[in-house]
């Protein structure tokens, strides 16, 4: 109202200086552009690793709190598929054993696992990965990736020792 009166009487306009505000806005924009880091597209494999327990114990008692499945009456050792991962000196994946069977590379491991899991007479629903201490995490993830792809999410780990095994997680 006042400005209108002012405009009428004097014929002048009130000009709000926008330039300093624009300067400040550009500075803020520069700050955000420089500090902006796009979030990496990370994924994850969720696992429930129980404390160290004798997985291979045939008489291991079942946890009564867990939901009972048809295969739960079978001892855990018989439901566990063991994959042994050997490493070469540089930490890359070497020999791979699926139980007693030696497989060549990831493709064959995937094929064999598919065959085993599609056989409904076999009780496997969890996996034990025994890995060479030198094995790189990258190589381990490749195997976990295959299991996860085949809907085996109950995975436990064990460190491979000279005598071929170790305490499992």
């Amino acid at each position: 109202m006042r400005s209108k009166k002012f405009r009428k009487s004097k014929g002048e306009e009130v000009e709000v200086p926008i330039t300093p505000m624009l300067d400040m806005a550009f500075q803020l924009l520069t700050f955000f552009v420089l500090t902006y880091r796009p979030a990496p597209t990370e994924g994850q494999f969720a696992m429930n690793l129980l404390p160290a327990a004798p997985t291979m114990d045939m008489n291991a008692p079942e946890n009564p709190n867990q939901d009972q499945k048809p295969t739960d009456s079978i001892p855990a050792a018989l439901r566990t598929m063991t994959t042994t991962l050997h490493a070469n000196p540089s930490g890359n994946l070497g020999r791979v054993n699926l139980g007693d069977l030696e497989v060549q590379g990831m493709d064959e491991l995937r094929t064999k696992l598919k065959e085993i899991l599609s056989d409904k007479t076999l009780p496997f629903d969890q996996a034990l990965i025994q890995a060479d201490p030198r094995l790189k995490y990258e190589e381990l993830i490749k195997v976990i990736d295959i299991y996860s792809d085949l809907d085996i999410t109950k995975i436990s780990f064990s460190e491979l020792t000279d005598n071929g095994g170790g305490p499992s997680l």
Partner: protein, 156 residues
């Protein structure tokens, strides 16, 4: 836009639309800025896995403890590089803090009951399994059973 007053040329560009756009850009960057970048150590190069599931919206009340592990198996924690022993002490401290928090919130854990916190492991792709295994064992000894292994999604 411009006027000629006595031979003097004055340019008066309208800056308001420009200011509007700049404010919109500032709003955009403020909304997408990642303030939790500390959890994602840039020194850790994650492996790539096709079936790694993107992190869904954090479940209500779910606590996560992110462990960044470098290529030598050291824990990167608060700007420090901790070896296995110091990492063990730090994980133990964190476990005690979580128990205290639960106690103060009125939730008492039964003896042997696992901690509800999820350990998120962000390990470098060259980390040897032995180091990873030790840290996982330390976490389990301290009562953690929920784990999430991080990897880059294949499309990333």
């Amino acid at each position: 836009m411009s006027g000629n007053v006595g031979g003097e040329v004055r340019a008066e560009p309208n800056l308001t639309p420009l200011l509007d756009i700049v404010f919109q850009l500032i709003t955009f960057f403020m909304l997408v800025i990642n303030f939790s970048a500390d959890n994602y150590d840039q020194r850790v190069r994650l492996p790539v896995a096709g079936s790694a599931k993107p992190i869904e919206g954090a479940r209500a009340g779910e606590e996560r403890l992110v462990l960044n592990i470098d290529r030598d198996g050291n824990l990167l924690w608060g700007g420090k590089v901790l070896g296995v022993e110091l990492a063990g002490q730090e994980i133990n401290t964190q476990a005690q803090l979580i128990k205290l928090n639960l106690k103060s919130a009125g939730k008492k854990l039964k003896s042997g009951e696992p901690l509800p916190t999820t350990i998120v492991i962000r390990a470098d792709k060259a980390t040897p399994f032995s180091q990873l295994y030790r840290l996982i064992t330390i976490c389990q000894t301290n009562g953690f059973t929920k784990f999430a292994l991080k990897a880059m999604s294949a499309e990333g």
